[in-house]
């Protein structure tokens, strides 16, 4: 079996500015002005420390991570807050670039890093389906073809022309998931998509994810609820402080390791 995703020595570094952060232009100019005067007049130092001194610290959100996901796998990514899960997903979704290393992808990737990104409260459900579909990468004709299916899945057919802001949060979540669920990508990234919505809807989502997976897609799934990972995934990786500490087909073992860290 060939791989869907191959991650090779992936690292991501963030630079953190400490001290009075040079967030504004004035502070930055002041910082360089002082730097310049320090150089030409050593006596200037006696005036005390530079309040605009900026210390740049490195932070490795991901450190030399390598793994391979076979095509059609259902990968669960486990790790505590700050372990690097979001950074990994952001790099996979091409929202940010890695500092070093690379990823080889076999197929189109679609990612849902947040439920309802780009949904506008003033627009109707119908208009939002088209907007969000386009945001997730669907073309106009593709959305038109799938529109009825999306509405049927979301179970809000009666309210589809009502402004989105009048929807209950459950309805909003259902519509958002419904659009994303009809993407048919080769690789699908889902980050905390089950966080909203009631139990029956969560079950429906998992069923739909199962169906997408059965159609041959590879799914990368991040969820804080362990049960959904246990039920759905057949492969898991565990991240800790930006490093990969486990890559296994034994999901139970990964969950045990993840829970054991607490």
């Amino acid at each position: 079996m060939t791989y869907a995703i191959k991650v090779e020595n992936l690292s991501k570094r963030y630079l953190i500015r400490l001290g009075n952060p040079a967030g504004s232009l004035k502070e930055l100019v002041e910082h360089y002005r002082r730097k310049f005067f320090y150089k030409i007049t050593p006596k200037f130092k006696t005036l005390g420390p530079d309040p605009y001194e900026v210390i740049i610290e490195e932070f490795w959100a991901l450190h030399d991570v390598s793994f391979e996901i076979p095509r059609g796998a259902k990968l669960g990514v486990l790790g505590r807050n700050g372990a690097g899960k979001s950074t990994l997903l952001k790099i996979l979704s091409q929202i940010t670039e890695p500092t070093s290393g690379r990823i080889l992808l076999n197929g189109e990737i679609s990612s849902l890093l947040e439920m309802g990104t780009g949904f506008h409260p003033e627009l109707s459900g119908r208009e939002n389906v088209f907007l969000n579909g386009a945001i997730l990468g669907m073309g106009r004709t593709e959305i038109l073809c799938k529109f009825d299916e999306i509405v049927a899945f979301s179970e809000i057919d009666k309210f589809i022309d009502v402004p989105y802001k009048h929807y209950s949060s459950g309805m909003q979540a259902r519509l958002a998931f419904a659009v994303a669920a009809h993407l048919d990508p080769d690789i699908m990234i889902l980050d905390e998509v089950l966080a909203v919505g009631d139990i029956s809807f969560q079950k429906k989502c998992l069923k739909k994810m199962e169906a997408i997976s059965n159609s041959g897609a590879t799914i990368i799934f991040v969820n804080h609820g362990i049960d959904a990972i246990r039920q759905f995934c057949n492969h898991a990786i565990v991240l800790d402080h930006g490093r990969l500490i486990l890559d296994t087909d034994d999901v139970e073992k990964a969950i045990a390791l993840y829970l054991g860290e607490d």
Partner: protein
């Protein structure tokens, strides 16, 4: 097979922008339809703002200061200046803020970031077209018939849009990191309206200052814009127009370059 690594997003950039054209369409449509929801007069706002500026400027410069309008109705002179100025000002302001406005989207969705300024352009052109209809009505009212020079009209619209987008992209790039530009831009635009020939004809500028005055790229654009409509009454200051044309192309090229150079990090810096 696709490879993700540092610098890889620069390949096939324009092709992926084209592939996302339906996103461009829906983003622009959203901006157009959302803007005037829950307002009473709705789309009429597009016309009301330039119209009110015209009324005020006509009163100040035409009725009170009694500036020369080369025999044209003063209201028409002002409106023909307000239109390109509004196109520039709104497009520049929107573009410079586009990364911040779309910050939530930018952090969660992959797409060529130029799509946001591009949707600003579409929206600004729609607004322009709407208020341009008002100008046509005015020309009918005053029985002003354009001559063959009207064929240059789109050229000046393009110059205006290129200048606005180019400068806007540069401002947007810096704005992603330093929000100072967000404070500065409304102020600059307020001043710009007076140093550009919006409420008066640029022929009124004394000869010795003509060159310095024309350093403002909007001077040539607005002058040319009026000239295409009424060539008999408005002489065109050729060096100024050429300067504005060169400026607009350079602004666009530099703007796109600066924006693209910083683009990969926008999700981290915003």
């Amino acid at each position: 097979m696709q490879i993700i690594e540092a610098g890889a997003s620069n390949q096939h950039y324009w092709r992926s922008l084209w592939a996302k054209r339906s996103l461009l369409y829906y983003l622009s449509r959203k901006d157009l339809s959302v803007r005037y929801k829950q307002t009473f007069v709705g789309v009429a706002w597009v016309m009301i703002r330039p119209f009110l500026i015209m009324v005020v400027f006509t009163m100040i410069f035409g009725a009170i200061a009694q500036l020369d309008s080369n025999g044209l109705p003063y209201g028409f002179v002002v409106f023909a200046g307000v239109l390109p100025w509004y196109l520039f000002a709104s497009l520049f302001a929107e573009t410079s803020g586009s990364l911040i406005t779309n910050g939530a989207l930018l952090r969660k969705v992959h797409c060529p970031r130029l799509i946001f300024p591009a949707s600003n352009l579409l929206v600004a052109l729609v607004d322009f077209t709407v208020s341009f209809c008002l100008l046509i009505l005015m020309m009918v009212w005053y029985r002003i018939v354009p001559s063959w020079q009207i064929i240059f009209f789109p050229v000046f619209i393009m110059m205006c849009a290129c200048t606005a987008i180019g400068l806007g992209l540069i401002a947007a790039t810096f704005n992603a990191k330093f929000r100072d530009f967000q404070q500065l831009i409304p102020f600059l635009l307020q001043m710009g309206m007076y140093i550009s020939p919006v409420g008066y004809l640029n022929q009124l500028v004394p000869k010795k200052w003509e060159v310095i005055y024309s350093l403002n790229p909007l001077a040539g654009i607005i002058n040319g814009f009026r000239w295409t409509l009424v060539p008999e009454s408005i002489p065109v200051f050729i060096p100024g127009v050429i300067y504005s044309a060169v400026f607009s192309i350079l602004a666009l090229l530099v703007g796109v370059k600066v924006f693209r150079a910083a683009e990969a990090n926008f999700a981290d810096t915003i």
